[in-house]
Structures are given as C-alpha cells and as structure tokens.
C-alpha cells in the first residue's frame, strides 16, 4: 500500500513538472467540447425546433390558399416567406431562389385551386343532398386535376422534406374537409327546414377529438428529454478527451524506458505490481477529474452561450462508476500503446489518430444509429462506443447500474486485453 501511494505521489510529481502539459490536457478537450456543442447546435435543432423558411407563392388568391397559409403559419416549425428583397415573389423567382440554395423549399399554389376544391365540395354536397331528399343544387362541373407545386433544394435533408410534406398533406386534408362540411351545411340550410341560423360548425374542435401526444417510454421519469447538441456532444467529446490521457501515459512509459528510470524500478524487488497499480490509479483519477470537468463545463458554461443545460440523469453513483471504468479503459489503452512502441514519435501519432478513428466508428462524431448497418457492427470494436452508450443510457434513458453493467463489463474486458498485450510485449522486451 505504501508503495502504491508512493507511486501515486511520484506520478503526480512527474506530472506537475509539466504544467503546460497538464493545462493542455484539461483545456484542449474543454475547448473542443464547447466548440463542437456550439457548431452542432444548428444541425441538431434541424430535427427538432429549428424554423425553416418556406417560400410561398400564391397564384390562386382564393380561400383554399388563405386557409392553407393560416394553417402552415400556425405550425412553429415553418415561416412562410412571400416576398424577397421587398418585392412580392413570383413563381420564377421562387424557383430560382431554391435552385441557388438561398432557400430550401418553395410552395407554389396554382391558379384556380380554390375553384377546384369548391367544385369537388359542391359535387359532394349535391350528391349527399340528393340522397337526403333536399331540393336545389349547387353549381358543379367536371373535375380537373390540380396540384400544389413544391420545390426542394437538392441538399435538403430527407427528414425535413418528410416533415414538410406531412404538414402540407394534413393542412390540405383539413381545408378540404372544412369546405365540404361548410358546403354541406349551406346546402342543408338552403333546403329549408328550420331557418334559424346554425352556429358555425367548429370543425377544428371536432377533428381534435382524437389526437397524438408523445410520452417518455421511461414511465417513472418526469423528465422528457430529447437529445440535443449538448446532450450528444458533451459526453461524446468528454469521452474523446478522456481517451487522450493515453498521450501522457504512453509518453511517460516510453520516456521512462528510454531515460532508464524504468531500469531502476525493475531492480527493486517486489515492486512491479504496486508501481503498475499506483500509476494506473493516478491516471484513472486524472481521467475521472477531467471527465467531470467537462461535464461541469457542459452544465455551467454552455447555458451561458445560449445552449441548453446538460442533463445528467438520476444516477450520480452509476455515473461515477462508469466514468472510472472509462478512465480505466483509456489508461489501459495508454499503457498498451506505451508498451507497443519504441519512441514517442511512433506512439503519439498512432495513439492520437487511433483515438480519432475509434471515436469516428464509435459514434462520437455522428450517432451510431444513423450509420449504415455494417458500420453499426464495426462500432462494437470501439471502446468509445460502449463508453458513450453507457453515458447515454444514464443521461437520456435515466438508466442506473443494472442498465449499464454490460457496457462496463465490456469496457473492463477491453482493459484486460490492453494490459495483457502490454504485459506480453514488456516481458518480451526483457530478452
């Protein structure tokens, strides 16, 4: 135990001698986390609450177009734009603006579309009136087809397209139904019967009798959380940054071997495991401190920059254990890299770039869920994937230890493999 503590102190002293290194180790991942959260804020919002401008060209000037416009404007996601540079938009200008990518979407309401809807509403009303034995007839003619025209910028994301098409479809159905109902009641009234004016039929209210509401799948939690830039980026880059402690670990391991201090240690009886353990403990503590530092930044600094608060789940102890296991894995990886390479010049680029690769396939950059199936399988070879998945389980799914223990076991498995490789390589080197 004394040897372990002595090693901890010694590692701290070695570390302290390089204050710039310490500062960089803590600051750079912090800067990275903040920048990534800021940059990815917009793309993340796109899936949720970002507003997008929709060019609106009305060539109809009838009731349908007006009602559609009102309907779309009541959806907070869309903002209808019907003039550009103080000039009312026409069809050609709108298409040009979408083509050039200035706007993502244009909707063109063709001439006569109201007439077309009125006509079909009249047809329906006449038909029903006849069946009910009502006298009289609303004017009707044969049906001509009419289309709302929509233009998308080719780079528009599929998700955005779908959400607009759905909204339009819903509006269109609603307006048509309203018109049919209106015509029908006109038809009934004009047919005689009681002549007292019937109150306006509130279709809106009737149609909302059954609606959709979203709930959290997690029954107990009162928090209903969507992922957002902060929730994704802070844990993801905190894990990424934590893995960067392999740089000082591998560097120190190699330097120790080159400088000869390792030889001194190997001359001392019965110390090897205490030293290994002491050293690993130091870096695990350091990694955990760094990780929490970054979460703290997500919690305290990012809201000041106009981003949402970081929500950290409801299992602080599980989070601590998970952070420790992730730090152990990162440390073991560092020890492994330190053992595998002869010089810092070999180890550092390999170590750094391997972390970037492991983080890319592990879903640090882009959530694994949106990767192709093959890449989703590949993600499993990255310890960073299991680490991020565990943190997401705690933060977004309000998971506790039972929900993350498989991840932790897998991470410890990775650690065991790394340490074993290091041990084999180091003992081979003694020959």
């Amino acid at each position: 135990m004394r040897k372990i503590i002595a090693t901890l102190i010694n590692e701290f002293r070695l570390f302290r001698k390089d204050l710039a290194g310490v500062a960089l180790l803590f600051l750079m991942p912090l800067v990275l986390t903040i920048i990534m959260a800021l940059i990815q804020d917009a793309p993340f919002r796109e899936y949720q609450d970002i507003r997008f401008d929709v060019l609106w060209v009305n060539k109809d000037n009838g009731r349908l177009a007006e009602k559609m416009k009102d309907g779309l404007m009541s959806i907070p996601q869309f903002r209808l734009v019907s003039s550009y540079e103080n000039k009312p938009l026409d069809e050609i200008k709108a298409r040009e603006l979408v083509q050039s990518g200035t706007f993502k979407i244009a909707i063109i309401v063709p001439e006569g579309i109201t007439a077309e809807v009125v006509n079909s509403a009249n047809q329906v009303a006449n038909d029903m009136g006849k069946r009910l034995g009502a006298a009289g007839k609303l004017p009707e003619r044969e049906t001509r087809s009419a289309n709302l025209e929509i233009y998308f910028d080719p780079v528009t994301k599929q998700a955005m397209k779908l959400s607009l098409l759905n909204a339009l479809d819903k509006q269109l159905t609603k307006v048509q139904a309203e018109m049919i109902m209106g015509r029908l009641s006109d038809r009934m009234n004009s047919a005689g019967g009681d002549s007292s004016p019937s109150p306006e039929f509130d279709l809106q209210q009737k149609m909302q009798a059954v609606s959709i509401k979203e709930f959290s799948a997690d029954r107990q939690s009162k928090v209903n959380l969507n992922t957002n830039s902060v929730q994704h980026n802070v844990p993801a880059w905190a894990i990424f940054g934590l893995f960067f402690i392999i740089i000082p670990i591998a560097g120190n391991t190699i330097r120790e071997r080159e400088e000869g201090s390792l030889m001194r240690i190997r001359l001392i009886p019965g110390s090897y495991f205490s030293i290994l353990f002491g050293r690993l403990s130091f870096y695990v503590l350091l990694g955990v401190a760094q990780f929490y530092g970054m979460l703290l930044a997500g919690w305290a600094i990012l809201p000041k920059l106009g981003l949402p608060h970081l929500y950290m789940g409801q299992a602080p102890l599980t989070l601590l254990v998970t952070a420790m296991v992730i730090a152990i894995t990162a440390t073991a990886y560092g020890v492994c890299i330190g053992a595998l390479f002869q010089t810092p010049n070999q180890a550092l680029p390999f170590g750094a770039i391997s972390i970037v690769i492991l983080s890319a396939i592990g879903g640090i950059w882009v959530p694994v869920e949106i990767l192709p199936a093959g890449l989703q399988q590949l993600a499993k070879v990255s310890p960073l994937h299991w680490a991020l998945d565990a943190i997401n389980t705690i933060f977004l799914r309000n998971g506790g230890l039972p929900a993350v223990w498989t991840n932790l076991a897998i991470l410890l498995g990775f650690s065991a493999v790394f340490v074993t490789i290091a041990g084999l390589v180091e003992s081979g080197r003694q020959q």
């Binding site: 002595a6 001392i268 110390s271």
Partner: protein, 244 residues
C-alpha cells in the same frame, strides 16, 4: 559472493552471442573488477546478475542465491549502479531518492537520514532540490550511485561508475568504494580504466568475446605475464584490434 558458470546469452535482435560460456568465480568478501574491451559482455553479465536480462543457459549464484530461483532475494541484497543514469530527469535528486527508498520499503525517517548522509558524502547537498537533468555529468553519476545505496546492499554492483567524471569526482567515488568495502560489503565493478582497477581491486577478471580470458590478483597477473602494468597485461591478452 559470486559464481557464474557456463553462461550463454544471445540477444534476440543480435546475430552473434554476447556471452558464450562465461565462467567466473569470485569467492569471499572482496572488491572484484570485471574488465574487458568494448562489447566484451560486461554489461550483459551484470544485467543477468541483477535479474534484468535472462540468460539462455548457465547458472548464476549471487551471495549464495540462485538467480533462477531466488531472484527477489538477490534483488533485496544487491545494489546496482547501471552504466546509464537510471533516475527521473525531471525530478530532483531528493524526490528520486525518496521514491526509490519507499519502493525498497524503508521508513520515512530512514530515507531522510540516508539521503542526508549520502548527499553530504557525495557533495550533492547544495543541489538536493535541483532536477537531475540540470546536473553535470559527474553529479549525475554520483546521484546514480546514491540511488543504489539507500537499502545498504551487501553487494554493490557498479557498471563503469567513473566513466566521464573528472579527477575529483573519481577520487571521491573510489574513496567511497574502499570505505564501503571496509564496512564489510562486497563490490563488483566494471571499468575501462585499468590503473583504477589495479589500485582498487582484490581480484579482477578480464573477459573478451563473452568468455573469461584470465582471472586473478592484479599484481600476480602482472608478474605472471611479465608486464609492468595491468594495461599491458590487458593488451597482451585481448590484442590490439579495435572493437565495436
């Protein structure tokens, strides 16, 4: 204190053997010198003695313990001063010694007392809180020796402790070795400086190409080979060819 028999060693990356059947026996409590040209196998022999490197075959007994069986027992009783500086360059000499002392299981009081004494003895008191990397070559060598002394080893093994140090430092080191021997400890050391060995050692062994060339008391060896100095004996026995 030391018995080596039929020791063979070929490093993994090497094509030629570094030791090929080395046999040396140093009985008793002596200052023994292991001499030989560059690449003769001195450092390899010492590395095997202290358990850093494994021999391919042969037997090694240090202070009566077999290296294959009682490596840890041997490590407790020997102090090794490697040919290269084996200290943390960014730490101060005091920090280095404190850590090494703790790894040897010494109490804080013992560490403080020994550190103070040896820093004084080796003239490093004023630099006690200076980082090793800011030491001069001679100061590094002296600090390197202190690191092997904290646990009062019965056998002190030194690989070229006087390489690259000035006359004053060398004098101090040699003086210390004599005193340490006088306190009942054994010493095995290697050197290229034959005059130094001649002056210090009770027994020397000259090795070349990983084999023993000759072993004996310096004075006897000079007499037997009809040479006036150990250097002449050395050249006479190992030839004039320059080594790698």
């Amino acid at each position: 204190m030391l018995a080596i028999s039929q020791l063979y060693k070929t490093y993994r990356q090497a094509s030629e053997p570094s030791l090929s059947g080395l046999t040396i026996d140093f009985p008793g409590n002596i200052i023994a010198g292991l001499l030989g040209p560059n690449g003769a196998g001195k450092t390899t022999t010492i590395s095997i003695l202290c358990g850093l490197v494994k021999a391919d075959s042969g037997s090694v007994k240090v202070l009566g313990y077999d290296i294959a069986e009682d490596k840890e027992e041997i490590k407790k009783r020997i102090g090794v001063v490697p040919q290269s500086i084996a200290l943390y360059p960014t730490l101060t000499v005091t920090e280095n010694l404190e850590y090494i002392g703790k790894l040897y299981g010494l109490t804080n009081a013992a560490i403080r007392q020994k550190t103070g004494r040896y820093l004084h003895l080796f003239g490093l008191e004023k630099s006690a809180h200076k980082a090793i990397r800011h030491f001069s070559g001679g100061m590094k060598r002296r600090a390197n020796i202190i690191a092997a002394l904290l646990h009062e080893p019965r056998l002190l093994i030194l690989d070229e402790p006087t390489a690259g140090v000035d006359v004053q430092s060398r004098n101090m080191i040699l003086q210390f070795l004599k005193e340490y021997h006088g306190q009942g400890h054994s010493i095995l050391y290697t050197s290229h400086l034959l005059e130094e060995a001649q002056q210090l050692c009770n027994e020397i062994a000259i090795i070349d190409h990983g084999k023993l060339v000759v072993k004996g008391n310096p004075a006897e060896l000079m007499e037997k080979n009809q040479c006036s100095s150990l250097e002449q004996v050395f050249l006479h026995l190992t030839g004039y060819t320059v080594r790698d």
